[in-house]
Symmetry: C2
Subunit: 456 residues, 2 copies
């Protein structure tokens, strides 16, 4: 609970219009895709100084503060587990600078990821990370969760594109980390410690983003296989053969069927699996890379290979990949999107095991994967009101995580831990390792006011 | 000082042959390129368990422990400032696994960087970071210092190639961070916190290294300019034009002259500056990239452009870049290699300022730079016995750092802070930021036994 005096102080800092307490406002800021928790008050800061002053009050009064972007997260990372303040960064949404010469952009955290991408591409440079929610998610949330996406197989994740940050500590103190230079080894890497810390260490108020030259061409293939084993073996062979596609996505039979049923795209519903393979780079090389990838697929038994002849056709090939999960989300009462991630060579084993789990627990699992980096996305639909079914789902999810860890994988490739996976952490992390995290958390936030109740 | 009882315990752990106390042995392990400090005892562990047991003794007895690789560092990072134990990792030197399929290698810290590079290239994969000392330095030291090198302009630094670590905390507890998956967002990024921490947080005992496909071709240009301004403007224009060379190195007039004088390579000594521009990738594209780079140089007033027609010729073009600093090092009583780093667009300003500093303090400065990422290497030779000259050098160094920071740069692009730059940290880092580092240090190493007396 925030006291009436506390609310008054917060209103003094940001003004009435950006300090929300009406129940309908609180509801809007109470959930992400996974969880729902009601805050006591929502603050919409517009400056770093406001963030700092709010945190000073929160620190003094020991009020929990949960920073959030667009709340497109899938693990309950930005829901205010212990109530208190939700600090929504959407009004700090300016692109402050784009410098192709220094290969960087400087932005506030509330900038929509796709707006950033379009702005830098107009300037001839490129920001690769492309989380599925890029049209609505905020770059600050991407940094806080170290977001991924299909293109990350070639280009790396959000973490690899952050040169520096301005952030506010729990105490209200403002720090900067890193800076404009591309290379920087001065002191501890606080930039990457805050990146992926899910709002538990500091509130990000400014981001220096590294940019790269924009690839001039891409070629996209959509390939159908009669066996999912053939498809997943193809993935690991392509990667080992020196082709690094900019995307290498896998869809299984269940996913293809539900997508075709809902969208009538003309997909080969007899396929056991499909791959999207996208290569990019200089114009001269994309054709050769596409040809090599095609030959691999043929040798591995692919029976239907579509090679896009234009940008528009390439976009059409992506429709199947992008719409299926939306359809599933709409059709189901609840959809879980897991993201257990394994070494690339273990993809065939992981896929086989997911099929076993589907049978064993009699639940619908639709398998999507950023296969190129072993990042599986089993989508599970169910009715959370049905207790017996929910239990089967819980057990299936647990077994998916156990399998991933047993194969040398991790609980989360890109969605984060948040609330969803904190109870599974012991599978991957030893008590000594968790203690290291807790010590760091304590060193940043001794009162534990930043996003409490989460993974650390 | 380590007590006789302490020495006996250490000998019990690693055996007499790997617990060195003879003065001549201690001398061997007492310096890097920058500083010299005598340890009380040198331990050469062969297993993680030995590292752990040594740290348990050190923790209990509060003995400083300074881990080191080949001590090729330039900032006094691995010299035992407070004596105690030097833990030399050279005997933990096994390549445990190379998996092209999973795009990774697993190695012990004592593996020589070039041995690793050659081994993975034989397997068809590629480890890009290439510090100048790659033929003798150890990969563990590269991780501890987040080492760079010429190829890092395109491929990123050591940090970008570490998937996970095994490390031993000051307490002797063994932790692992990250893992085999390419993508991993489970918990805080301890991997990158330890990377670049200069031995102050943990002793690295195993490294999971990310590999990428090996580029199939490269083209190398050596380009001479009549004005250093033209050369440095060329650098920033090439970068802004969408060409990302795998190396973009600058040498100034002083450096060219001293190199030619000592090695008679046929360099154009009338040049005010030279650039090495190296592009790589698929065979079809390197020619076009090289042509574009060449056109840029011509338009910017280059008067002598050599384009290597073979691998052997490419290697020859690199000779000038690589031998000059060796010559200087041998010819001088003392050579400082600074690495202040600026945003790419500020290279022309930084170069002009270094020329002013050279005049102002009347000291020889030879300028090398990984210009593609703004990483300057002013080499300063002097006689440390000459007090008056040393003072001028100190003042010049200070002004170089101040200039770098004023231009939005950093104290260190790749050489680290260690002892050399700790007195300059206040130029770049606020007390609040330094406190964050100190808090982290304390959370890892409450007794302060790991590499004490350094930057944190």
């Amino acid at each position: 609970m925030v006291s009436a005096q506390g609310i008054r102080e917060l209103k003094d800092i940001v003004g009435k219009n950006r300090c929300l307490t009406a129940p309908e406002d609180l509801m809007v800021y109470s959930h992400d895709v996974f969880a729902e928790r009601r805050p006591d008050v929502v603050i919409l800061p517009m400056t770093t100084e406001e963030v700092s002053r709010v945190l000073q009050v929160a620190s003094r009064e020991k009020i929990p503060v949960t920073p959030r972007g667009s709340a497109t997260g899938l693990s309950g990372m930005c829901t205010p587990e212990w109530g208190g303040i939700v600090m929504a960064m959407s009004k700090m949404n300016k692109i402050l600078e784009i410098s192709p010469e220094d290969r960087l952009a400087i932005v506030e955290p509330g900038v929509i990821t796709q707006d950033l991408q379009e702005a830098v591409e107009r300037a001839g440079v490129f920001y690769p990370p492309d989380p599925a929610s890029q049209s609505i998610c905020q770059i600050g949330g991407n940094v806080a969760t170290n977001a991924g996406g299909p293109r990350c197989v070639k280009y790396g994740v959000t973490r690899d594109y952050i040169l520096g940050l301005e952030a506010v500590l729990a105490s209200g103190e403002v720090i900067k980390t890193g800076g404009r230079p591309i290379k920087n080894v001065t002191g501890y890497d606080i930039t990457r410690l805050i990146c992926g810390s899910e709002g538990t260490l500091a509130v990000i108020t400014k981001i220096i983003i590294k940019l790269i030259p924009k690839p001039e061409a891409r070629r996209t293939l959509l390939v159908a296989f009669r066996s999912i084993d053939d498809a997943s073996v193809t993935v690991s062979k392509i990667m080992a053969a020196g082709i690094l596609p900019r995307a290498l996505e896998l869809m299984d039979h269940q996913y293809i069927r539900i997508t075709e049923k809902n969208f009538k795209l003309g997909l080969p519903v007899e396929a056991a699996a499909m791959l999207i393979i996208e290569v990019d780079g200089f114009a001269e090389t994309v054709d050769r890379q596409a040809r090599i990838a095609k030959e691999f697929c043929e040798r591995q038994g692919a029976f239907d290979i579509k090679l896009a002849e234009s940008e528009a056709e390439a976009d059409r090939l992506w429709v199947a990949r992008k719409t299926g999960s939306v359809a599933l989300f709409r059709l189901s009462k609840m959809m879980l999107t897991e993201d257990a991630t394994v070494p690339i060579s273990k993809i065939p084993s992981m896929v086989r095991k997911i099929n076993e789990i589907r049978e064993k627990y009699r639940i619908p699992i639709y398998l999507l994967a950023h296969a190129g980096d072993g990042n599986m996305h089993p989508l599970i639909t169910y009715d959370p009101q049905n207790k017996e079914e929910s239990e089967r789902v819980d057990n299936a999810v647990k077994e998916i995580f156990e399998t991933s860890i047993a194969l040398g994988g991790t609980l989360s490739g890109e969605h984060g831990i948040g609330l969803a996976k904190k109870n599974f952490l012991h599978l991957e992390v030893t008590p000594a390792e968790l203690q290291v995290w807790k010590n760091i958390k304590k060193s940043f936030d001794p009162e534990g006011i930043l996003n409490p109740g989460k993974f650390v």
